[in-house]
């Protein structure tokens, strides 16, 4: 009976599966692996877990020269790139099979472990990063696939997340294939494909700073083949500070981290991290300059958090008074949370998981999300990168948004009259229905 039921479900779902190009056998990865199936594109972002080798086109075992013979015609671009790489120009060239294997039916994409075979020091540094927790390059893929909204939303939609979060699964996010140039990865632009956009405008912040301005003016002429060490560069770039001496462990100086929750900058761990920053800044500045800088950053952060907590309290009060509309019962359930299904609750703030509650919520909750996740983080990143004016601009936006939220709360409190059941409005619709049915 159960088998028949499963068959029926599969038969009913088949048109969608075919449309989505999903393999019904493919399973997700991570904490919620049983709850989702990957989109075909996911295999390219997380090849270690999801890659399925190409078996239809070519059969046989191939050594380097034989690979190049075909691929200089089939995919000439990558062969040309490889020929200019150190892999090709070294005495004993690193040929295709070294990274991809030689059996064309079992080819693989090289992950950090593959690269670590020859670059063990860099791999060890990256692995060590995991001890520092999130945010982290090494843990980025886990962060993405374990997120509740990732498990909940259509997998073709959240394929957008994985291009950046693949930094954990492949080295070519920074050392682009097939040249894998260290000099390229040292340039700040190597980081900006991911370190940009509303929650982490690191690009905007760096380029607006005095450091970034100097880079913009003369960076083209600097010798990027030099290691990221004292005296080699007139101004620091992303990698100079965050990956000093080429250290692929990017987390050991992270104090305020991503910025979505308050931390204690004076904790024993953070004081050690601060010492590391002082050493880095002292490559160019007297020690007290670094100290002064951190004092200002801490003050800016403390002030921002005071502001954010006040708005959080305001929202929680609205919630206790039943003024958030739609209520949690009227909106699609908070992603994949069985407890939330039994006791629906609107999520407010970091500790209640609002980072995954940016859709299917009331306008005022979203207003807070944007205040917290976009403007606040812009203010933080501006300050942390020495772009004070940018930080001030974001503080202005925060002020405007706080004012708007207060006015809206006031208005909601002033509303009279019986409320209608909003469930039909929030549970229906092309996208909402699609997501409720299939994810």
């Amino acid at each position: 009976m159960r088998i028949a039921g499963t068959l029926l479900v599969v038969a009913l779902l088949w048109p969608w599966l075919a449309w989505a190009g999903l393999d019904p056998d493919a399973k997700g990865v991570g904490e919620n692996a049983d709850l989702w199936r990957p989109d075909p594109m996911h295999e390219y972002w997380d090849p270690g877990n999801l890659h399925r080798p190409e078996t239809e086109r070519v059969k046989g075992l191939f050594q380097g020269e034989a690979c190049l013979e075909c691929h200089r015609v089939v995919t000439p671009g990558i062969v040309k790139e490889w020929r200019t790489s150190r892999h090709a120009l070294t005495k004993e060239p690193v040929l295709c099979p070294a990274c991809h294997g030689e059996d064309h039916q079992k080819l693989s994409f090289p992950g950090p472990q593959t690269c670590g075979n020859c670059h063990p020091k860099r791999l060890a540094q990256m692995e060590e990063e995991k001890h520092y927790g999130f945010p982290s390059h090494a843990l980025a893929m886990e962060r993405a696939v374990d997120s509740k909204h990732f498990a909940d939303k259509p997998k073709a939609e959240v394929a957008a997340c994985l291009q950046c979060h693949s930094v954990a699964s492949k080295c070519d996010s920074c050392h682009t294939r097939h040249r894998f140039d260290a000099a390229e990865a040292r340039r700040p632009e190597a980081c900006i494909t991911c370190h940009s956009g509303p929650p982490h405008p690191d690009d905007e912040a760096f380029f607006a700073s005095a450091h970034g301005q100097l880079y913009r003016q003369e960076g083209k002429r600097w010798d990027w083949s030099k290691p990221l060490a004292k005296g080699n560069y007139p101004a620091p770039t992303c990698a100079y500070c965050h990956m000093k001496d080429g250290n692929h462990q990017v987390a050991d100086k992270a104090v305020w981290k991503f910025g979505i929750r308050e931390i204690n900058p004076q904790s024993a761990e953070n004081l050690i991290k601060r010492k590391r920053w002082q050493v880095t800044c002292a490559d160019c500045h007297p020690p007290e300059v670094g100290m002064e800088f951190f004092k200002k950053l801490d003050a800016e952060r403390t002030q921002s958090w005071r502001q954010l907590y006040a708005v959080e309290r305001l929202l929680k009060n609205l919630r206790s008074d039943g003024l958030l509309s739609p209520s949690a019962k009227e909106r699609p359930p908070y992603p994949i949370d069985w407890l939330a299904k039994l006791f629906p609750k609107e999520r407010i703030g970091f500790y209640e998981g609002q980072a995954s509650a940016f859709y299917n919520v009331s306008a005022i909750e979203r207003d807070y999300f944007e205040l917290w996740y976009f403007f606040n983080l812009g203010a933080y990143k501006g300050m942390a990168h020495g772009a004070k004016e940018l930080s001030e601009q974001f503080h202005e936006r925060m002020g405007v948004q706080v004012e708007a939220i207060r006015n809206e709360a006031e208005r909601l409190r002033g509303q009279t009259g019986a409320k209608k059941d909003l469930k039909p409005l929030w549970m229906e619709g092309d996208y909402t229905k699609f997501n409720l049915d299939y994810n």
């Binding site: 190409e54 394929a159 957008a160 009331s362």
Partner: protein, 265 residues
Amino acid sequence: MNGETLFRGWFFLVVTLWAGSAQVMAGTCLECHRERDGALVTAWEKSRHAQAGLGCEACHGAEHDGAMARRARPVEACASTCHARERSSHMLSKHGVIALLEGERLDFSLPLKDGNQRAPSCAYCHLHDTEHDAGAGILPLIPLAAVSNASLTVRTEARAVPCRDCHSPRFVETWFSTGDKMVEIGRMKVREAETLIARHEDVEAGKILARMKDVHLSNVRLGVGHASPDDQWWHGHPALDGDLLRIKSRIGEILSQGSQTMNRP
């Protein structure tokens, strides 16, 4: 050599130099190039550029100095004048970053094919291999519902060609198929909003809908087309989510309060 011959010589030289440096307008170019590069001109005539009245000089410049082809190939040729928004999307992609960092090392004297430039500029994909109908090759947008249409199938195939110079056919196919779905999911959000607004008219909600279509859905498309994750995600899907929930919030209030005047800003 008598005076008259000398004068004729000078006159000829001056006229030649003047003609060479003069503003060469499309009409003038076509006089020669229709014969020399017939296919190219025919393709251009079909293009959106031609329809918009943009002639050869718009991309190639007006100096007939032997570098005309080379001039139209880098990102700046398209981006510095007309395609600023597309540029900002491309610049954040890995393609854009590599193109920027390679800078002068990119050899634009080589044709736009076979991975001759390490990273693609606008023209490498949109005007791949001398294609002059900008829009026939890489199509900016393919509505999923129309994919069965035969001419669109041809275009679906055509848009994969430039990518395959560097990427495997399976990767390219997967990229576009997921990309089409990502855009289609964006359209679902727009349709959900449209259906609601058709039932409950509201000026403010209408404005948000316009932003969904003109800005945020368009960002998803740019993000997919240029492999730019920021436009797919932060400027795309979660932004559409925000629009949709704001429209629903407004309509929710209309439903709750009947004909009462709305005063949410």
